[in-house]
Symmetry: C2
Subunit: 548 residues, 2 copies
């Protein structure tokens, strides 16, 4: 597959090219729009995935191609992949087979440098914090309170826990700190949630980096850093137009973490897309308990642009995995037993699918189940899923977009259009909480409604921090709960069918991004490399990229 010049793609899709900013032949930045248009939004989410992922990105791409196949003028919004994992275990995240974003090597490398801009803005603030400590600490910042790491877009485990400022007086004040991967930066979440330049500037200035010795929050604007950060981020705020394998427009923008952040592409990308096509497809990260929940409760609250339908991607392998009968280790291949024909295991695993279907129904979002077909699947196993969906009263289609491209997703596309057209209240979702409820209650609502927990248990420190945030005026922010994506409960060992409670050991404030997040279980924000990372097999030969 060869990419077409991006201006041709745009013209074919009926997009006004006069305002596009080219970045090479195959990418263009699109201007910001202030209000969403009329195109309905279709959110592609999934059951809880295996560590390998269930092809949600390929399905979103395939669906977009399928919608074009049946005569619609679709546009897709996706997150930008992180460089670190591209050179680590995972490899690129540009789709597969006949459902890719092209050119893959642009999407998987620097793209237009937005991630680098996030890192530059983030690290400038970090330098200005330590510079303030060095030059006398007029704001009386408590060094122990500083929760602003540095970031780099590389899997580098030795940066998880470091001591800086050694060497002597001219080299600053020593303290223990860390590096996160760029996708985990609050600046990335700001990029994903800002509605325009002024909002970007304001959010960056509101970032809280720690507190003074009286416990008052210290913001980026106290350090006079918000303006320079916004300048570094200005061009990054424009979404990046690329293309699917079939030449349909795709906006690639922002890449906030799926656990501690919103796990969705940006507000500005969705809003721009709503004016560039007649139907917008977007992918929400991980399962419906994570990315879709943040779309409903956080992102769409900000964008004013909520889904009119959802696709839940299910795979035979992941449903089997949810029976708990197989030993699945992140970073390893799936076990062979899991690949043997076993419709009963699939049926049993459908409990996970059923859970998410109920959640989406609660939100008032019509659903289509997409079976992302793999070559090793068996027909009986697909049938088991289809029967389960039929019993649940939900449309279900097999999609073969990886092998067949758009035509392989045409049935799915028709079902999605039917779901959108059958929605009497398009773009309206029933959120799990109101902004003015107490933070503890908001978290409890997510734990109960979305995860099906019996309740939520805060450590005393977490409860105290939430009270403090409320006193400080952050009580109206939405919430994000960071937990594993591999199961609905925070711990894969817990049976979600039995009563269980969600523990919150720590809470943190993302005042710039505009949410409070809870840590439920250990969340790594800096991956490591495996013994033989993919980087070892990537090369430049005669100026051409191989092995990416």
């Amino acid at each position: 597959m060869t990419a077409q010049p991006i201006f041709e793609i745009a013209e074919d899709a009926g997009i006004d090219t006069s305002e596009l900013l080219p970045y090479g032949r195959f990418v263009a930045k699109v201007p910001l729009e202030s209000e969403p248009g009329d195109a309905p939004l279709v959110m592609v989410t999934a059951i809880n995935p295996t560590p390998l992922g269930e092809g949600k990105t390929t399905t979103a791409i395939g669906l977009t191609q399928g919608l074009a196949e049946i005569g619609r003028r679709p546009i897709l919004t996706l997150r930008q992949p992180s460089l670190g994992p591209t050179f680590g275990i995972k490899g690129g995240a540009a789709g597969a087979g006949k459902s890719q974003v092209l050119p893959t090597e642009i999407q998987n490398l620097h793209l237009t440098g937005d991630f680098h801009a996030v890192a530059a803005a983030h690290n400038l603030l970090a330098a200005m914090i330590d510079n303030h400590l060095h030059h006398g600490n007029e704001l009386d910042i408590d060094p122990q309170s500083i929760l602003w790491p540095r970031v780099l877009d590389v899997n580098d485990r030795v940066l998880r826990d470091i001591v800086v400022g050694l060497g002597g007086r001219p080299d600053g004040v020593p303290r223990q700190t860390s590096f996160d991967i760029t996708a985990a930066s609050e600046v990335m979440a700001v990029l994903a949630l800002a509605s325009g330049y002024d909002d970007l500037r304001a959010r960056l200035g509101r970032i809280v980096v720690g507190s003074n010795r009286s416990g008052d929050p210290i913001t980026a604007d106290h350090l006079h850093a918000g303006g320079a950060m916004a300048v570094l981020m200005r061009d990054a705020l424009m979404p990046n137009l690329m293309q699917t394998s079939a030449g349909n427009p795709v906006l690639i923008h922002a890449g906030p973490f799926g656990n501690i952040a919103t796990g969705n592409s940006s507000v500005v990308a969705d809003v721009a897309a709503s004016r560039l096509g007649d139907i917008v497809v977007t992918e929400s990260g991980f399962g419906a308990d994570l990315g879709a929940e943040r779309m409903v409760n956080v992102k769409s609250r900000q964008s004013g642009y909520a889904p009119s339908a959802a696709v839940v991607v299910a795979t035979v392998r992941a449903l089997k995995a949810h029976t708990g009968r197989y030993r699945i280790v992140p970073g390893r291949e799936l076990p062979d037993e899991l690949l043997a024909e076993n419709p009963d295991a699939v049926r049993e695993g459908c409990a996970n699918l059923g859970h998410h279907l109920r959640t989406l129904r609660q939100w008032g979002v019509p659903v289509v189940v997409a079976i992302n077909a793999f070559p090793e699947d068996h027909e009986s196993e697909h049938r088991a899923i289809a029967e389960y969906a039929a019993e649940a009263g939900v449309a279900c289609e097999i999609s073969t977009h990886v092998v067949d491209g758009g035509p392989g997703a045409a049935l799915l596309a028709r079902a999605v259009v039917a779901a959108v057209e059958g929605n009497d209240t398009p773009g309206v979702v029933h959120r799990d909480y109101a902004a003015d409820q107490p933070l503890t209650e908001k978290m409890e609502h997510v734990a109960r409604n979305v995860y099906g927990a019996e309740g939520i248990d805060f450590t005393p420190a977490a409860r105290q921090a939430l009270e403090r945030y409320t006193e400080l005026g952050y009580g109206d922010l939405p919430v994000v709960i960071a937990k594993t994506h591999l199961s609905i409960p925070h711990d894969r060992a817990i049976d979600p069918e039995q009563p269980w409670r969600l523990p919150v050991r720590e809470v943190r404030l993302a005042a710039g991004a505009g949410y409070v997040y809870a840590l439920s279980g250990a969340i790594s924000t800096m991956p490591g490399l495996s013994k033989h990372p993919r980087a070892e097999r990537i090369d430049l030969v005669d100026g051409e990229i191989v092995g990416l």
Copy 2:
């Protein structure tokens, strides 16, 4: 001044636009050329500068505009400014007044992301080194031998001396290390010296990061990192076309440090420029003892493209400073006394100018002195310089390009064209040493011929390291001597008119970039921020950048 669309600039300059890759409206990447064309190269260098700089960049821009003014088809090559200092003390480096690179905010910010690509490639290698230690250290790397820092393009003093890998076994092997600013990365020097994609790939693979416990060098290719690094650097190898205030083409590319690296724009930028215009202007960093010396002995050896004439920029304030009568402190304004009319002091300071004129003459490069006029200068002071130049038999012109743009540099441009036309052996320079001389001799030649030292003193460790490099096959590399740019000797307290010797305390190998460098005096490779850095005054207001 408003920038014109870059494709219009290119067309006006007679550049074939079909091969240009646009990056926004005002920047385009130009394709690589394998051989230099016929356009003569004019190197803009200077006397030893004050900490404020003597307007070498503005003069190079002004001269380019002046050459267009007198009917030539000039093109300029410049280094890309570093982000760190832009937000630190120095501010942007895009010229001044009517001699700027436009749009300044693009040049001073991310441009096309080349610096970020350098950092990504550099830090991937760093992560792969520590990953190798973590996963059993099969290559038996001696952790104490590792001389590969990490890099970030931010002034962040607390990263000068750090300990990484704390936290426990899963978080890697603890060791002491550091961050440099991105401009100091050897990958940046590779970018500046590579002749094409294959050479880029080979140089990155040859980078030596340390040694095993038997003392054998460990390279990026031993770690299988060279290919992935080259992939990250691929697009960065294309120079970036921008424009002067007068709409003349400028290639902005690479930004290697002026002390430990080559301090010049890239080989590929010069070579591409030689085919895009009828005369090429390039700026060499710092004084003629640093940037011009590397152009003659290192860069042009690689590019096969040497200067046919040079401009030495002199200012009244810097010549006065070289009398040693004024107290000049880096980071502070120049003292008021220095601004009072004093042609005698200027005359006395001309010794510094005279030194560099003799060096350029030794190299066989015809010279024009450019007096970069400042508003606070006095006519008598300009006259003192002109008289000194006349006595030395060198052309000299006052240039008012900052105030007047191209017309203010037209006389300078005519003098430069005359110098080029008067050169019987254009593009031929007499280098200070041959490749096959011993490394110690090469360094001694630079110390004697270029600095005027009586000789060079190596510490035993430095001498031993040079012997080891020679045994390992690196003896044919050119050399770079890192010393202060503020005076000819390594120490500003030394009177260069009296006999003095150059001490070399340490030598290092840049096997990828392809030179051996000596440290003579303390060289900081990670700047810090001042108490109130410029970043504090930079802001984004209604989407527009202010204060940059």
